[in-house]
Amino acid sequence: MFSKNVSPSSSHQVDVLVIGAGPAGIAAACVAAEAGKNVAVLDSSPWLGGQIWRGEQAHPTQAAAQQWIWRLKKSGAQLFASATAFAAPTPRCMLAETPTSVLAITWQKLIFATGARELFIPFPGWTLPGVLGPGGLHAMAKSGWPVTGQRVVVAGTGPLLLAVTAGLQQHGARVCLVAEQTSTAKLIRFGLGLWRHPGKLAQGVGVKARILGVPYRCDCWPVKAEGADRLQRVTLTRGADTWTVDCDYLVCGFHLVPNVELPLLLGCALDQGVVRVNEFQETTVTDVYCAGEPTGIGGADCALVEGRIAGLAAAGLTKQARALMSQRASWHRFRAALNKAFALRPDLRRLATPDTVVCRCEDVPRQEMESFDNWRAAKLHTRCGMGACQGRTCGAAAQFLFGWDNNSVRPPAFPVRMGALIGAETTWNPHAISTASKP
């Protein structure tokens, strides 16, 4: 757990501000702090490790996570837990809301390590309680969500499905089936290419061995979830077959969507949905860096090396950063193979029927959105994307379903209390800061 000793509406000045405490953020913060920089790390959750290493502090399972978290704690970087960055009122100031205060942090270098979220593709019944993201249920199982004895269908795409299956079983869940949308041929090609990444191969074989006995089906995906007030059964399809499985949970995620909202808020350019960076992980905005999933979904190992490069470059150690570039190139080859192997099949665009809700916050069905030809028009007329999640869920779905780009972000990037906005004004107001800093 990080320290929570933050007085209300406090101002901080740092050399390097890192947003996100997953693998990329931890690596970036470590190397920058070890180089003598004054570093602050923010994360919206109360723990370190992001989603992939969630729970590693309390219940260690991965050596790399342990080492990096321990290294971060020793590095001297200042950690702010439960701090959600939401606005940048001046070019070099970031505001974040905590449960009790607002932080205003002015920075010399900024590193975004904002990670990714799961892609949810709407299908009939996907809004029922009991239908969750695979990573989501796994993460919450590590934080006390009761899954022992529960029947779970795991569906979607990507290597995450195997890791989640193994993890849920470890917590006592009964996984009935893993439904992977990609084809057997693509999966075999991906597996054969893993000799270039022996660590990943060993990881994959290890996970597969742990979930022996659980049916794993390629070319398979859910078409309907049903139940009275909560999930009771799932209908799946594979080739010409369609069948129904009784279960307590369906976890269904179609790979990951990079969290690019904050980089967009700062004006960073994107390339095909990911943040554009140069060889030092610097974005198109000077002194603003980005590492890990927001620059392309590549997994924790890729994020670690990108985070180190960003942290070293931000600390001015370009020679050391350059030394890591060949390692990064290798992980980028893995990233390309991953995205090819688990590319989504167009059939999934037809799962949502006209009356299937796409925007869960505002209950907007597919047919209402579909009558418009872009995200902005649909948003203005139907209120899709204007609820609490600000389009993070339905915007990504609409991008997949209709091919709409959604690159407009306005502050606050996350819903915050009115008091935080009012408090923020006094916090980042330069006069207020100079007054506060007088002895």
Binding site: S44, P46, T84, G144, W145, D229
Partner: protein, 83 residues
């Protein structure tokens, strides 16, 4: 390491450990519906990582708290179905 804490869920005491997130405590107490959608449909957590806001509940009188990102603390009062 993790201490035992008692929180209140819709007025009823629930015993959990301090490493439990509020969303998990609600489910331990048998709840899977956390809120009603604007058309009254039952909704529960989806993303589990603070993005979707489907798990939002009222904690100690403060509405719209993400229960998946909030750890249980002694005496915490949680209410579902506020929005």
């Amino acid at each position: 390491m993790a201490e035992k804490v008692i929180i209140s869920v819709n007025g009823k005491p629930v015993h959990v450990t301090s490493d439990t997130v509020v969303a998990a405590a609600l489910t331990q107490a048998g709840l899977l519906r956390f809120r009603g959608s604007i058309h009254g449909e039952s909704r529960g957590p989806l993303c589990g990582m603070g993005v979707c806001f489907e798990c939002r509940v009222t904690i100690n009188g403060r509405p719209h708290c993400r229960s998946c990102l909030t750890l249980c603390e002694p005496g915490m009062e949680v209410r579902t179905d506020a929005s």
